[in-house]
Amino acid sequence: MSQSAKPRPGTLTAKQRPADRIFSGSARGAGITILITLAAVSAFLLVEGYPALVTPPEEISILDNQSFVVYVTPLVFGTLWAAALALLMALPVSIGIALFISHYAPRKIAVLLGYAVDLLAAVPSVVYGLWGGVILAPGIRPLYMWFEENLGFLPFFAGPTSGTGRTILTAAIVLAVMVLPIITAVSREVFLQTPRLYEEAALALGATRWEMVRSVVLPVGRGGIISAAMLGLGRALGETLAVAMVLSATGVITFNLISSTNPSTIAANVALSFPEAYGLNINVLIASGLILFAITLVVNSIARWVINLRKDFSGAN
């Protein structure tokens, strides 16, 4: 890996032929194209989103005479809330799966089990949405009713239980299933990179398998787990269709997980409103998309920064 073309000091530079210049130039150009594309994404969203921020709200029908901030706040809340719930559910399970595949499952079938988890990542989000809306939502409703009866004193389960089961918690469960393979893949790689000798030293000192994992594997993989969680969070924040198809949203801010009034997310709101939008409404939706872009950009940058800090250990590269 590390032995690729590294120019050593004092080496002769080869003669530059025209073909060389064209080739290296186009390779460099392709790289710069990527940077330009990313800049263009932000620029176009800014240009198209700006009118929504400066036009008086009375002239934009989708805003309903409220300011843009009032319109977008529940969406931002819903986006963060759903993603946080999804992460809360997915992270422990993912770490468990990663440990299972890297340290617990028999070597021979571990690879196959890894494929099975990867298959979860290959399922298109629209299929998850369909499954979540038709199968999961009605199927999980009895559980919500049980929550309401027995845990109703908590604000999260205050109820009344939604008649369809299409609540923010259902959406978060679907999101959790979708980010699970991402978090698992990254943390699995990190766990596999634990130095063998450390593991064997721990076992030789009489540690049980769990004590070995706790004292060696988890500390070594901590940075990787954090960045895996951030990557999963980034994915959950931006996921559109699964939420749009599962959630029945009313645009309120509430921590109630099982009632029929739920906050929507930015991405789902854009997907649901965009086909019918016209004029300045489109600019409003694009402006909300810009906010989503900014949030995911920050989350992903932090994740990548953490990964780069611990490049030697992380298998995510």
Binding site: S24, L45, Y128, T240, L241, M245, V299
Partner: protein, 361 residues
């Protein structure tokens, strides 16, 4: 727990103080029986009441966890008991992840076959209300837009990865590109759609929804995947090959084209196939940038274009006068989509397994 062996000197020294292997199975069976018994004998008087097997299983697992911990703690001591409990939890985590996968595959196959017929692959939805019709126009659109996206993304992505590996080593521009490619991987797909929509609205007038815009949106998502995977593959090419080529006086660009690329070809192909599989299932960007239609449209430069994921989405969101017909079509579309994506994934893995150089775990 040495007193056990002390009281019975003939017992196997190494096996004493341990739960025998068959104990786990016995305890599991016991927990199942306890759980099932609880729900069967202490049920409410309501004659409508039926035993929910899922609840029985959950309670059985909890009972098993407790019983197993206690048994192990009594016989083997607290450290071993914790270890066993963690092993159970870790295995459970995997089992939990398999539940949605199995349920999803099961439902999609079960409900998808109802309309998985010849009509589905040959007809469009033109003038169809209620039952009948098919998704041929959507498949056509998916193929056209994915192909266009591939044609845009692969050259850009491949060249960029060549720059990163062969030319950019240690340069600031290369570091910048690497970082932003990583960031780009995380762009929400709907933002890519909004970008493509804005771009083509400014060029072709507001409200434009065309196939090429959908392809552009897919490219934004596809390029970073192609760059990452090709970069990884190019880095695996042994440096000796490059040096041998240089020693023969071959210029650098020819070395890359004739030596480096062919060596990494299998890996690059795999990466591209996985990227195609990934963007093929994307719905949100196409919903925004390419719109939807019930007709065939072979021209990506004018008019809206339907895609398979969007076909599924609209069949579900806008269920017409006969909801079952729309849902059946949605499931059939989902089945087709999953099959395509799975085949691409398996083929990609097969290529890797057959052609890739072998290295450690």
């Amino acid at each position: 727990m040495t007193q056990l062996s002390a009281s019975n000197p003939t017992a196997n020294y190494y096996a004493s103080g341990k739960l025998p292997g068959y104990m786990t199975g016995i305890l599991l069976l016991l927990s199942l029986v306890i759980s099932w018994g609880m729900f069967t004998f202490f049920r409410p008087a309501d004659p409508e009441y039926t035993v929910n097997l899922a609840v029985v299983a959950v309670v059985a697992v909890i009972v098993f966890g407790v019983v197993h911990y206690v048994a192990s703690r009594v016989v083997e001591g607290p450290r071993k008991a914790v270890d066993r409990t963690v092993t159970l939890l870790v295995t459970l985590a995997f089992a939990i992840a398999m539940i949605p996968l199995l349920s999803l595959v099961h439902t999609v196959v079960n409900l998808g076959v109802a309309r998985f017929d010849l009509d589905f692959f040959t007809l469009s939805m033109r003038n169809v209300v209620g039952a009948g019709g098919g998704a041929a126009h959507a498949m056509m659109g998916t193929v056209i837009m994915t192909l266009l996206a591939t044609v845009i993304s692969v050259p850009v992505g491949l060249l960029a990865s060549i720059y990163l590996v062969e030319y950019g080593e240690g340069k600031r521009l290369a570091r910048l590109i690497t970082f932003f490619v990583d960031v780009m991987t995380g762009i929400p797909s709907i933002v890519a759609g909004l970008f493509a929509y804005s771009l083509f609205s400014l060029i072709l007038g507001p409200g434009t929804r065309v196939g090429i815009a959908g392809a552009a949106a897919l490219s934004v998502l596809m390029i970073p995947i192609v760059v990452r995977s090709s970069e990884e593959m190019l880095r695996l090419v042994p440096n000796e090959l490059r040096e041998a080529s240089y020693a023969l006086g071959v210029p650098k660009w020819l070395t890359i084209v004739k030596v480096v690329l062919p060596t990494a070809l299998a890996g690059i192909t795999t990466g591209v196939m996985l990227a195609v599989a990934r963007v093929m299932g994307e719905t949100a960007p196409l919903l925004i940038a390419a719109g939807f239609t019930n007709d065939f449209n072979f021209n990506p430069f004018s008019d809206r274009m339907q895609s398979l994921p969007n076909f599924v989405y609209y069949s579900y969101i806008a269920q017409g006068s006969v909801p079952e017909a729309y849902l059946d079509r949605a499931w059939a579309g989902a089945l087709a989509l999953i099959l395509i994506v799975m085949v691409l994934n398996l083929a990609a893995r097969l290529i890797t397994n057959i052609f890739a150089p072998k290295y450690g775990r």
